[in-house]
Amino acid sequence: MKSGRIFSALFFGLACLYFLLPLVGTLEFSLRARRGEYSLDAYRNVLADPQFHQTIGYSFILSLATIVLGVLIVAPTAFWVRLKLPRLRPVVEFLTLMPLVIPPIVIVFGYIRLYNTSSWLPLLGSAAGSDFLLVCGYATLSLPYMYRAIDTGLRAIDVGTLTEAAQSLGAGWVTVLARVILPNILTAILSGAFLTFAIVIGEYVLAALLNRPAFGPYMVWMGGNKAYEPAALAVVAFGITWASMGLIQLFSRFSKHTQARR
């Protein structure tokens, strides 16, 4: 018993080291812009760069659009599969895993071939069209995470009976989804949303090949041209991701009706 506890503490410590050492290294390096002393110069440079603001603002808005699109596609699908087509579940699960197997470069070349300026639907001819395609691509990339998050949320509630209860009270399908199902899987949707956010903020391939001013390409450009700023940028990006995770915890803690179940 006692040796077991020592072992688990040891492995926990090793795991912490494994995860934290590179981060500590990055953080330490990002603070060494000034010779011989620690300073926040690299951070100051990053935050002062107007391109930083533009790209992160752009990626932020696109990530919101991606989340909305993802929820609109995934929530009704997962709901319907769970309710009416449970035998299709493995198929749908497999399909949602495809973006992990097929590299984003395939998607983006597909887009370029299908929607170029001389095609039947020249979406890439305009900035708005390209943004739309980018959001579609992001939604595809986040599909595995969004689907799993929402499906787990649906598993925690009795979808069938709640749906029937709402229907017997006069609710149509849209009302059932909007007023009964979605509010009860809000925590799951949020965790899917923050994962999506993290993916969109860091994504490089789609944005670079569609030539859109996103945060991912900016980070890569920065990495190729500056010494200390990329490390500072990485720390900032980590901070954003962690804040997202913290928010997931916070939301699930403060959603009133789930308090007692935890």
Partner: protein
């Protein structure tokens, strides 16, 4: 034409037929129970009524309106589920108001109705709580209030008491019945618990293998079971095998001797039958017109009731139930006594037990 008419309903899931030629008329304000063992098709009938399943053939007519093709949310049929199915993200008051909101009831009127409903189920002042803060019995009351609030044409109860403990089950039983009587709402109740069905219903439909075996008032079902299944499913019963000797006079030969029922039997002479009689239909002494000699095998003292197991005519086991009264002695095992019954209490069923 009844308020609700289910006509020749058939339902199959793939190759399995779960409801067979089910026909039932329900009058307005009636409380009807569907009673049967699990898998007898009772819940499927209820779900077809609600619109959650579609019958393979047959028609359901409610208040002159054919329900065929009408989706569940447009039927105005309230339903209470075994698992309560309250919306966990909504408060008690919001749960009860759900149907009113969808129906577009003005806010003030909806609030009044919610108060009225919560008062009716004895939960005034619980409106701001969330479902997880209530006990099972309270949750089921909220579910009942929620189902009744939008004034549905029919109330369906799908084993609403099965998930509750015995004590709450019994008190909620009479409460549901009282509310149903007060509102005069036509109610269809599904249960596998015969005591529940018997104590609450105007009429009981006993189901087996997807068929309605018998439809009748609880006393009728109990005292005059129409089929062997009903006789065996409801209450406990003594079954004695026999052969019809004379159908005109009702003489039947049994291992305990020839029993004369004094009435004409529909069965032919020589056909195998079973005689069925309730334990409380047998008396000690010679009060009845069918008299047998018996020896006590053992006796159980159950407080208000004494249950005796006897061997009649040497080798026919019978169970006798009698009220415990001051001055009555409990017969000892081995004691010889005379057992009698009224011929009218003896039911003749086709076939051997």
């Amino acid at each position: 034409m009844s308020f609700i008419t289910l006509q020749n309903i058939q339902k199959s899931f793939g190759a399995t037929q779960v409801v067979r030629d089910f026909t039932l008329g329900i009058e307005k304000g009636e409380f009807v129970s569907l009673l049967g063992p699990s898998g007898c098709g009772k819940t499927t009938v209820l779900r077809m009524m609600a619109g959650f399943e579609t019958q393979t053939s047959g028609t359901i007519v409610l208040d002159g309106q054919d329900m065929g093709g009408l989706p569940a949310n447009r039927r105005r049929i309230g339903m209470v589920f075994q698992s309560y199915a309250l919306f966990p993200n909504l408060t008690v008051a919001e749960n009860v108001a759900f149907g009113l909101k969808i129906a577009g009831t003005p806010r003030a009127e909806a609030a009044r109705r919610v108060d009225e409903m919560l008062g009716m189920v004895g939960l005034s002042g619980f409106g701001a709580r969330y479902p997880f803060q209530l006990s099972g019995g309270q949750q089921q009351r909220v579910a009942l209030a929620r189902a009744i609030a939008p004034r549905p044409r029919v109330l369906l109860l799908d084993e609403p008491l099965s998930a509750l403990d015995a004590k709450i089950r019994i008190s909620l039983r009479s409460e549901i019945r009282a509310i149903q009587r007060e509102l005069g709402i036509t109610t269809l109740f599904v249960t596998h618990d015969q005591e529940e069905a018997m104590s609450m219903s105007d009429r009981v439909v006993v189901m087996s293998g997807g068929r309605a075996e018998q439809v009748g008032a609880p006393s009728e079902i109990y005292n005059r079971p129409a089929t062997r299944f009903v006789a065996e499913f409801i209450g406990s019963l003594n079954l004695v095998p026999g052969t019809v000797r004379d159908a005109a006079t009702g003489a039947i030969e049994t291992p305990a001797g020839v029993i004369a029922l004094g009435r004409t039997l529909p069965q032919a002479n020589g056909s195998a039958v079973s005689l069925a009689i309730r334990p409380e239909g047998l008396h000690i002494g010679q009060d009845g017109n069918v008299v047998l000699n018996a020896r006590v095998a053992d006796s159980e003292f159950l407080g208000s009731i004494i249950r005796l197991r006897v061997m009649a005519g040497g080798n026919t086991p019978l169970v006798i139930a009698r009220f415990n009264r001051e001055g009555h002695t409990v017969p000892e095992p081995g004691q010889e006594l005379t057992v009698s019954a009224n011929a009218s209490d003896i039911i003749v069923l086709d076939g051997v037990a």
